[in-house]
Symmetry: C2
């Protein structure tokens, strides 16, 4: 979900960066997108990658995609060295629920590393447990991302309270309408990893429909 | 949700039956619908009602609606005595995950008790835990309800796996399009219980968007 929501929202994504996500699942899902030419992943902990390759081969299979380059580094430091406007999409699957990846300077580096109209998707907590954090994240994102700023959520039964949220933002430039995928996954080609079990275009749109108590907080941040 | 999904899908609901749900939360939510003239509730266990009134006054407040009549009875037996075509909507919030309320004769009694184009909403398990049960329920419903048969789902963090499903079916007669509420709740009036915290019309439509693995099973039952 954290990969398809941003990637299906832009046409012809070519360069993608993943921050965190050393287990490889995001890479596996990115590999379904045929237009991508270059996938960089910056994982801080080499052991995450090694353990995944040993014990979770179904996820670590993502590293086998020849488009993938692995960097073992701190995402914050890595981003600082990235030339402006490098990526079409950045996926942040790292510190949670509070940490450097939720702070303003980090989001500013992300915005800088994206091309105009580029997109980012970050994990953004649980509506049942963390509305106060979500409020702050939305507020920060609205200050930094001058394109579109959206909150989405889905269910993951093994996560606390059974849900996880995402921030989906775009930088100033060609407008991005996250709620209506312009690059639906059926048209993106697939590969040897088999059909998608959860994600489809209907689910893509549905995850942006928010309960009233969430809408209220997020709309208040829009003012 | 179990009340608003069916009630917002038909125009001018007047007579509603609740099977189970003696805690009163469904009644509280039904009380938001101004067109309703008569709400009957059939709860098998009087103590559920008494305990709720003592310890959950925010839910038991539903019993204070003057349109409500409480019957302490077995829902299966109660339904058998109901004249054909009595209700606009029936809400089944009872045995779970396997029990008499999932069986064909029960659904047949429900269908009989509904007017043509009347609607039923029943609890229908978790997509993460009970796809084999959901498969059977869908199959039974398709045989019995000759209008529309739909599966919907939403999140409840305190339920096993964090989600719960609903079957939404209509009887032969005026067609019902559950996915697009014709009787949106904002227009239904509200009352002293305060604004809705979760449900809204966007959420109403979103709950019918199914993950691919669920769609596959449910579509196979359509053949």
């Amino acid at each position: 979900m954290i990969t398809h929501l941003p990637l299906c929202s832009i046409l012809n994504p070519k360069k993608v960066l993943v921050i965190g996500g050393g287990v490889g699942g995001n890479l596996r899902e990115l590999s379904r997108h045929a237009s991508i030419e270059k996938i960089e992943i910056c994982e801080i902990d080499r052991m995450v990658v090694e353990v995944s390759k040993q014990f979770f081969p179904d996820l670590a299979v993502g590293f086998e995609d020849p488009r993938v380059t692995l960097h073992i580094d701190d995402g914050v430091a890595f981003l600082k060295a990235v030339p402006e406007g490098t990526y079409d999409a950045i996926i942040v699957d790292s510190s949670d629920p509070i940490g450097p990846a939720q702070e303003k300077p980090f989001f500013q580096s992300v915005a800088k590393a994206l091309r105009p109209g580029g997109v980012v998707c970050t994990q953004a907590e649980s509506i049942w447990l963390h509305m106060h954090i979500i409020e702050d994240i939305v507020s920060n994102c609205r200050q930094i991302f001058k394109g579109s700023v959206n909150y989405a959520w889905t269910t993951v039964p093994t996560y606390p309270s059974g849900v996880i949220g995402f921030m989906l933002c775009s930088t100033e430039g060609p407008p991005v309408d996250f709620k209506h995928p312009v690059n639906p996954l059926d048209a993106c080609g697939s590969n040897s990893i088999g059909p998608l079990k959860f994600y489809n275009s209907e689910i893509h749109s549905a995850v942006f429909c928010l309960p009233s108590f969430v809408k209220k907080v997020i709309d208040s941040k829009a003012k």
